[in-house]
Subunit: 193 residues, 4 copies
DNA sequence: AATGAATGAGTATTCATTCAT
DNA sequence: CATGAATGAATACTCATTCAT
């Protein structure tokens, strides 16, 4: 019955918050934002509805927190991987993308789903765009260093390819030939390897 | 004062039905299925809520009708365009895609949005898949006739590219360089032209 | 193309009216008043919704017409059967009741159902009561002429027996031993026959 | 400021649930199932519409709960009353019936009303039948032990009498000579007392 | 007279959010 | 801090009734 220290409290809160974020991400991604009720999240997280509201002001803010967190993780993980050889860069890029897609499948799925729900997207559009643009710039830089013309356009195309693959993959995860497409992609962008 | 003829009634119904389909497609696409209420559709169509239900048994069936209609139009318009020269085929393919995308923008946007709403997608997955597969087969046939190996995989890649482009386009219609991407695409797939 | 005479028109109207009454009685009795829509009646009668309203001001008035008609028929058919021998009277009474029950089964069922729908009953209570009381008086008269004391109470009991039997019969028409109960009844009220 | 204990929550729920059951029974019985809206029940119970749905999944389930509860009470209260003398049994039976009728008037009225609403009855028919049959068996046993032939048929007749009396009583509660009918009934079934 | 398209008030139901304890 | 009872606004859907032709 010794009173918990401030640290213990904070750790607990952090754990609860993480659990909420975790569970809602999963539910939002697999069932959709509208078809996931606060009640369901609470149940999945093993806590009460009220407690969710002590962490997030509203369902919308919870969603926002998930998105923000997702982007942060994504960015943190992508920013590394310097490589002197531009061609490897490109291979890394493609590798990275696939790694990310599979590692953060759930977030990715949620994120793409949101892109098409205009009512929701509006609120996060800017955040999403910033992230996306940063990514494109990275692609473009590599293309440019490889002497490719229209580097930004090429970056856009690569981005579109990635998005399209992800989209199709999520639509029919079980049967989509993700790996074989990766091979084709590598062959196309790095023919001389 | 003589009663309306059967034809008159049918014409009235057809007109109303078209208006409903039209308006809901637009609203579903721009605001999302969940965020569009029957009330809103009624208002947009200038009719009463009840009348919608005299045409469609439920909101779900209305959506289904929209999807079905969309696919039908799409298919009807794509099925033509025979061309003796396979290379032209490919150019046509890309042309066609862009034409379709712009002509039926709204439906396209709805369709993509639905792909990520698991609760909804389930009901129409099969319909969507059939359509998509038919499209891929067409692509593959062309690749095959051009002597390209892995024709089906290449078809999948092209499909992904198209989807990715559409997705990005819808996310930021105003600034997306749709036309320039088309050029890049044509150059890539038909380098010797 | 010769114009129909006034008589022909009236005959047609009467026929339509009869069909409406007939069909609604059946539907109200078997599905319940609330669970029968005007649309269903129109369909069952092979006419349009509007036409029903040209015969009856409202669904309620249609019900009222059915009830009124039912009572009229009932009364007309019961009023006859004079019999010099009081004991035969009693047998007749029981016979009559069973005959009526089976002949106008549908109306009977509707009528009993309405007795317990307070919202509806209120409007027809008086009509129903008058009819019922007249019936009871007839019973009482017979009991009195047979020298039975408490004739009115006995009439009430007989009435209750009739109602109870009908009720149970309607609840499980297929298995209810209607005929055997009649025998028991006759034996009880006319032991020396 | 300490959170409510599980017991406190349970007590709250139980109180609310009882209030809902209580009020709906009354309203369903006096106004009919269809003519009682959830809104009315909420108002009568002094709670919000939503709260009703946290206790019962639907209006139908609420009705079912009422019926189930009614039968349970009925059965619990009837099951007692052993008596060595069969004749007393019979008197008890009649007594019991009248006691029940008056004690649970409202439920009785609801129950009878439902018997004639085909759409509703279907769902509960079996439950109702089971209860009714158990009751009839009890009656039959007594008749048999009194050496009466056709015991089951006699039971059915008694059942019908009870139902008929109840029905008439509910139709015109104020003026129906319930007590005097009881006397007549007792005299008829127990003439030598 | 006859049709059925059109209306809109009414109803069950859901769910994010609040709040007393 | 934590709970879940309670609220009420929002939403899909039904159906009696009206009315133009």
């Amino acid at each position: 019955m010794s009173p918990r220290t401030r640290e213990q409290f904070q750790a607990m809160r952090a754990r609860t918050r993480a659990k909420i974020l975790d569970r809602s991400l999963e539910l939002f991604a697999t069932k959709g934002f509208h078809d996931t009720s606060i009640q369901m999240i609470a149940q999945a997280a093993g806590i009460s509805k009220g407690l969710i509201y002590s962490h997030f002001k509203s369902k919308d803010e919870l969603l926002e927190a998930i998105i923000r967190q997702g982007f942060e993780i994504m960015e943190r993980e992508t920013s590394g991987s310097a490589d002197p050889d531009p061609a490897s860069y490109l291979a890394n890029l493609i590798d990275d993308y696939y790694t990310m897609l599979l590692k953060h499948e759930t977030f990715w799925q949620l994120y793409m789903g949101l892109m098409f729900q205009p009512g929701i997207v509006l609120r996060y559009k800017e955040t999403m765009m910033k992230y996306y643009e940063r990514m494109l710039s990275r692609y473009a830089r590599i293309f440019r260093s490889l002497g490719i013309k229209n580097a930004m356009l090429e970056a856009r195309l690569l981005g579109a390819i990635f998005d399209g693959i992800a989209m199709n993959y999520f639509f029919d995860r079980k049967h989509y030939p993700l790996k074989r497409l990766k091979k084709i992609l590598l062959r196309r962008y790095l023919p001389d390897r």
